[in-house]
């Protein structure tokens, strides 16, 4: 499969974009993107099937599609995780996925990304399950349990990775290690396809059980009293988180996937008090971070995509935190100063008037 070098492909992409805009407008470019997407999803005619198709899109656009979809999905799913105060569960799942990748490779000797990610999904979900089990049966508290499960799973992952690297002297060991930081710039069609499938599946599930998840996020006890299967919904949410995390692993890696689940919802929270709006903004911030990060990394040499996506999201978080109306920092600082000044004036006035009364 041909992989374009990131820098030159960006120039090609810009040139291509400007040319097509000049020739027959953005429409033709959009048509190319849609054609590529249908090919990617295997929706085109089977006779066209070609394992190594000549791409209409550059590597950058492929990566762009992947990271934007990933950002949107993570923003959607992360909103609920954030509201349920489970923001770091994604982190634990991502770390717990690492041993699964290695075990899948050791057991099947397969290099297929699907097999590896299935293994990752199994151990990731097992990690999340361990977490809730330990919370129930031991006297340890939430934070200690998170740290424990995360570090033990990561340790097991590192040990297995090393073993594979030392015992299978081929490119495979290095490949497994690439899951730790991610390798978005060299994302393959199969990776993007996975992200697309995960994005669509998560999107549909979230839309279908939107009302129930909303209830669960804001008032779990009421949800139970109303007779909804709160535990089942909780598990569903955990599963959605796991699917998002696992789909994002090849692109942004074990350590940074959690950021995509936490930062966009936290930023979106500053702008609104409505869940539907928060989800939209969060998905938007995720998508914009994905796009900006990818384009920046294509623009500059030796810039890893995953970390840049995360940094863009953090920049958007800082902007939201500072500027958002009502909940933003500047707004509140202003308001609290004004309120303080008003209160001080009030006290002064009452004091002078009471003195005047005493004098008279």
């Amino acid at each position: 499969m041909q992989i374009y070098s990131a820098g030159s492909s960006f120039e090609w992409f810009v040139a291509h974009l400007t040319q097509s805009c000049a020739a027959d407008g953005l429409v033709s470019y959009c048509r190319d993107v849609i054609t590529e997407l249908t090919m990617l999803l295997g929706l085109n005619h089977p006779s066209n099937f070609n394992p190594y198709p000549v791409t209409l899109l550059t590597q950058t656009t492929l990566v762009l599609i992947g990271t934007v979809l990933l950002g949107i999905t993570a923003g959607l799913v992360g909103t609920f995780a954030y509201l349920r105060r489970r923001a770091l569960a994604g982190d634990v799942i991502a770390h717990a996925a690492l041993p699964g990748l290695c075990m899948a490779f050791l057991l099947t000797q397969s290099r297929s990304i699907g097999v590896l990610l299935t293994g990752a999904l199994i151990t990731g979900v097992a990690g999340a399950f361990m977490m809730s089990l330990l919370r129930r049966v031991t006297r340890l508290r939430e934070d200690a349990i998170l740290g424990t499960v995360l570090s033990i799973a990561y340790g097991l992952g590192i040990a297995l990775t090393r073993t594979i690297q030392n015992n299978y002297r081929n490119e495979r060991g290095a490949d497994l290690e690439s899951f730790i930081i991610g390798r978005a710039a060299t994302m393959l069609r199969s990776d993007v396809l996975q992200i697309a499938v995960a994005a669509i599946a998560c999107g549909i599930v979230v839309l279908v059980v939107y009302k129930e998840l909303k209830l669960l996020s804001f008032d779990e006890s009421f949800c139970r009293v109303q007779g909804w299967p709160a535990t089942g919904l909780d598990l569903l949410l955990m599963f959605l988180t796991a699917v998002t995390v696992i789909a994002g692993l090849p692109a942004v890696g074990v350590i940074l996937t959690a950021a995509l689940l936490i930062i966009p919802p936290a930023a979106a929270r500053f702008w609104t008090d409505r869940l539907s709006l928060m989800m939209t903004i969060s998905a938007g911030i995720g998508g914009v971070s994905g796009a900006t990060g990818t384009l920046l990394s294509a623009r500059m040499d030796q810039m890893p995509t995953g970390p840049l996506v995360v940094l863009t999201a953090s920049a958007l978080f800082v902007v939201s935190w500072m500027l958002a109306p009502n909940r933003g920092w500047l707004w509140n600082r202003d308001r609290s100063e004004k309120e303080l000044a008003a209160a001080a004036a009030e006290i002064l006035r009452s004091e002078t008037s009471s003195r005047a009364e005493v004098k008279s």
């Binding site: 923001a87 570090s151 073993t163 940074l256 936490i262």
Partner: protein
């Protein structure tokens, strides 16, 4: 003449003869044994230091801080590299330390001013700083800034890199680990009272006039220092050394001093066993250290005497058995009371008294063994000892019924149920209190005589 005038010939390794002897005994080279000893020393030092601060992190519900610090340290190292352009270890160490403190402060700041939940604010800060670090490290071409070392740690290298230290040849990591351990111990000794108070009851500490936030930030700085110095050895897995030994110790004890001791021992055992497993399986020592810690934690969760799962299961089975046995005794006593003479019952009748099932069958066998029941030819009757025991039970039952009747507005037919449950928990001293409260009653609300204290 030696072609390479190694300083190793002038500067000795401590306990040289011991290593020579072990090398001879194992049939290994002396260098290999010295390297192993150096690695074990470095591992034990980092484990002990991490375990000490980890206990306080656990008690203060700050375990995630260790995780966050270990990630954001990369940002500090990267920032120092960006500013100075060198990889001199001392500025790097200071930069990493500063990054740790910045993480803790930024987390609190976002949590307070943005009303972001604390775990989310930790997640935001450390992932952003780690991403920044990775970006800078990837840009740093031609300079040896080792991302792998941060990600995986390098126990073996840290233990092999011998340098002359105070007249001895010691692993280089000792230069940072020993001061870190000493500072940690000093901090613990000097602030012991304040630490203990603020960890267990911050509100009480604040009302007594201790500055909770000063202790918090001192603690954070010490944790940052410990994390940075141990990361050189174990990488991101410093989290495992911070949390897991403390968790194990917490499962085993309720005393702070003992908890610290256990955590240190557990930490050292993890690094030692992990190192040897890594040698055996040709794998990562830091990773296997975390795995060993996980196995130890699982063992403790199962087997811990007081808080372990099996211990709790055993206690609940014992309680179930005792209740079944006491039900049998009390039931037989009531029948004896009704008929006025000692009665023999069939075993199956007795079992019915305790609700049948396995618990009832085992309870009867247990009573027979303890000599509380006398069995002959399938018939069972109370022994003398059993009669006295049962008399105490029925006394508790009827006292409780009377007390309920006196103090609560309950129908007479609602008195038996609660008393049936409570009779198993009322000892002689509570009996005496109830009796005093009721002013020496003779009969329960149903008109049955309350038996005397068994002689």
């Amino acid at each position: 003449m030696n072609a390479f005038p190694l300083f190793a010939e002038q500067i000795p390794v401590p306990f040289e003869t011991v290593w020579v002897w072990i090398a001879h005994w194992l049939g290994q080279s002396r260098l290999a044994v010295e390297n192993a000893a150096g690695t074990l020393l470095v591992g034990a030092l980092s484990a002990a230091t991490c375990a000490l601060v980890g206990c306080f992190l656990l008690l203060r519900r700050m375990s995630l801080l260790g995780d966050a610090l270990s990630h954001s340290v990369l940002a500090g190292v990267a920032a120092v590299y960006l500013i100075t352009g060198s990889i001199d270890p001392i500025p790097m160490f200071l930069g990493a330390l500063a990054a740790g403190v910045v993480t803790a402060v930024a987390t609190q700041f976002i949590h307070r001013t943005g009303s972001v939940p604390e775990d989310s604010s930790i997640g935001i800060v450390f992932t952003s700083m780690f991403a920044f670090g990775v970006v800078v490290v990837s840009r740093a071409t031609g300079v040896h800034l080792d991302l792998d070392c941060v990600l995986f740690g390098d126990v073996a290298f840290a233990g092999m890199n011998f340098t002359p230290t105070l007249g001895w040849l010691l692993p280089k990591a000792v230069h940072t680990l020993v001061p870190a351990l000493i500072i940690t111990l000093l901090f613990l000794v000097l602030c012991w009272k304040e630490l203990r108070l603020t960890s267990f009851d911050p509100t009480h500490a604040a009302t007594l006039g201790f500055s909770v936030s000063v202790i918090h930030y001192l603690m954070t700085t010490v944790v940052a220092m410990v994390t940075v110095s141990a990361m050189e050895v174990v990488g991101l897995l410093v989290v495992a050394l911070l949390t897991v030994p403390a968790c194990i110790a917490r499962m085993l004890t309720d005393r702070l001093g003992r908890m610290l001791g256990i955590a240190v021992l557990v930490g050292i055992s993890c690094t030692t066993i992990g190192y040897f497993l890594a040698l055996r399986w040709n794998s990562s020592a830091a990773g296997l250290m975390a795995v060993v810690a996980g196995v130890e934690l699982a063992t403790v969760i199962l087997l811990a005497p007081r808080y372990g799962l099996l211990g709790r299961l055993r206690r609940s089975v014992q309680l179930r058995l005792r209740i079944a046995a006491e039900d049998v005794l009390a039931g037989l006593f009531r029948r004896m009371e009704r008929t006025g003479t000692a009665v023999s019952e069939s075993t199956s009748d007795c079992q019915r008294l305790a609700g049948n099932g396995l618990a009832a069958r085992s309870a009867i066998r247990w009573l027979g063994q303890r000599g509380l029941l006398e069995t002959s030819a399938g018939m069972v009757q109370l022994s003398d000892k059993g009669r006295r025991y049962a008399q105490g039970l029925v006394r508790s039952h009827r006292l409780w019924e009377s007390w309920l009747d006196q103090n609560f507005d309950l129908d007479p037919d609602h008195l038996h149920g609660p008393a049936e449950a409570m009779e198993h928990y009322i000892g002689p001293s509570v009996q005496r209190q109830l009796e005093d409260d009721l002013q020496q009653p003779n009969a329960d609300p149903h008109g049955r005589e309350i038996p005397d204290v068994p002689d």
